[in-house]
Subunit: 327 residues, 2 copies
């Protein structure tokens, strides 16, 4: 099934069940007014939501038109947002771009950071940027939303805790990163609020494309209407979501609604383009001795979506514009 959160003036919005073709939707009902409440009681609530999903997909005319709805992030505020960096090609390029060595444990120990999760942007929310000199960049990613996940979960059991999948635009302020990482405590100011796809879907909605904890489909990014990248999110995801879950669960447990991102999707094949500006800039540096593509400016729009083998949009579309933050 596919779930989305309708803007209704509240902090957490109204949970909606959405048809497979993303055209019709229906309120999830009083037992699960929000996505967090559904995740909190998943064993009991998933079946009722599935029934609504079946009706939406099988009964023409059931539900209302999704185009009339303003969608928030599936979880407009989440208890944790954890982001990995699981595509080796991205790590190598981005570290090179900031003259940093890749970690020695690149292929054996996942890179991961804890991000801010109190305010998550909806798919059409503007990216409010105070200062373009901060070097604003997008990062197109896939993510899983977890159920209650106990400490010590092994990779082979991790599939049990994946409730939903979605897309993320992990906005980054590249020019703030070097000084921040230099201090040794990781990202903070350099990672403002991330944007999310309108819909989060259960793994079965992906069919065979969901395999071994990876999504084997291209993730398309457009910058100002032109294709910027469409790398496959599957084969080059070095640590699968299942391995990432085992990694984060080594020393603690997670509450339902924890979101775990893949990191910027990236392929070695240059014809697939990139999922962030930093990669393209580094490739320009390598090829021409000079970074030419600028970071995001006011008015730039970034569009991210993933289509299945039949060309159908799975998660809906992230489409965000960069605008000046109000003084």
């Amino acid at each position: 099934m596919k779930l989305g959160t309708k803007q209704n003036g509240t902090r957490d919005g109204q949970l909606m069940v959405v048809s497979r073709d993303l055209k019709r939707c229906v309120e999830a009902g009083a037992q699960t007014p929000t996505l967090q409440s559904a995740l909190d009681s998943w064993t009991g609530s998933a079946q009722a939501l599935q029934k609504l999903s079946d009706r939406l997909n099988g009964e023409p005319g059931f539900g209302s038109d999704t185009s009339q709805v303003t969608w928030k992030a599936p979880l407009p505020r989440a208890y944790e947002w954890i982001d990995a960096s699981s595509y080796i090609h991205h790590i190598l390029l981005v570290r090179k771009a900031r003259n940093a060595e890749p970690p020695k444990t690149l292929r054996t120990d996942p890179l991961i950071y804890q991000g801010g999760s109190g305010i998550l942007l909806g798919p059409k929310d503007d990216i409010l940027l105070t200062d373009t000199s901060w070097g604003c960049d997008f990062e197109s990613e896939v993510a899983v939303i977890l159920g209650d996940t106990p400490e010590g979960v092994k990779a082979e059991d991790a599939h049990k805790y994946v409730r939903l999948l979605c897309l993320v635009n992990d906005v980054s302020l590249r020019n703030l990163i070097p000084a921040e990482l230099e201090k040794g405590f990781g990202f903070f100011q350099s990672k403002p609020a991330s944007g999310f796809s309108p819909f989060a879907v259960t793994p079965d909605e992906l069919g065979d494309a969901w395999q071994g904890g990876r999504i084997h489909l291209p993730l398309e990014t457009k910058l100002n209407g032109s294709i910027f990248g469409n790398p496959d999110a599957g084969p080059e995801m070095h640590f699968s979501f299942f391995e990432l879950i085992a990694h984060i669960a080594k020393t603690r447990s997670y509450t339902a609604g924890t979101i775990l991102g893949s990191g910027t999707v990236s392929n070695e094949d240059r014809s697939r383009g990139s999922s962030c500006l930093a990669e393209r800039r580094m490739i320009e540096q390598i090829d021409h001795g000079k970074m030419e593509t600028p970071f995001l400016s006011y008015g730039d729009t970034i569009r991210i979506e993933m289509r299945d083998a039949a060309g159908k949009n799975i998660f809906g579309t992230i489409e965000q514009k960069v605008v000046p933050a109000k003084a």
Copy 2:
């Protein structure tokens, strides 16, 4: 006023208003069943909560006995837990302990990290430790709980966003830190769930001790019943909470219920002891060439509290025991 969260079998517990002497409490009422709901609607709800507080403090026999209640963390799950390291003496000692240089911007740019906030431990919750070789340590801290805080807040306006104060035991796995920080993305596995004082209090409850965004009172830590440290949390907090709020708000906004910690409270005066084992171990190394105090073992108990000038316990007591995690 003083607020606490009663264990009632739900994830977020029942919000209770607590008397100044911590002896009596009363349910906060249907409009604010949880602390998060009160913070979400603070302008409207604070007055009603204050009335209950006034009755508890002025009307003998009103409310029920707090000793019958099991207290959870004030926010059993929070949307963000952000921890600074604002006591310079702590930074210098701990970096020395792991042979790391202090950052060049030590006194001008706050050290801060984003912690996991989906599961926060109650004041008497056990510290579940899978492996004692991880080097489990406590860190006694003070913290603020914020209301909705906009991007760009300046230090001089930051006081407007401080709703509550509380104590934290920021549990750390010291032996996992060096390899994790070496990767460049900050703490993750090395920071399991933190423990919280039973009560969070409005700034006015601290009287003159709350000055300039610092709490000018000693924070007492006992290890297995013996005083381990009682450093003053005020004068040596290099960046005040107001400066820390301005720092975190440079590039993003925060939702109500965001928790911001001070970092391990530490004084240069050695007679005040320490608020974590790592500091004492480093002092032993400097004085005797050898670290002698071990990290926490199963059965160890850590007790943290803060008393006012009259000796009255302000936030209630954190008292946690280290026990083996279930396999």
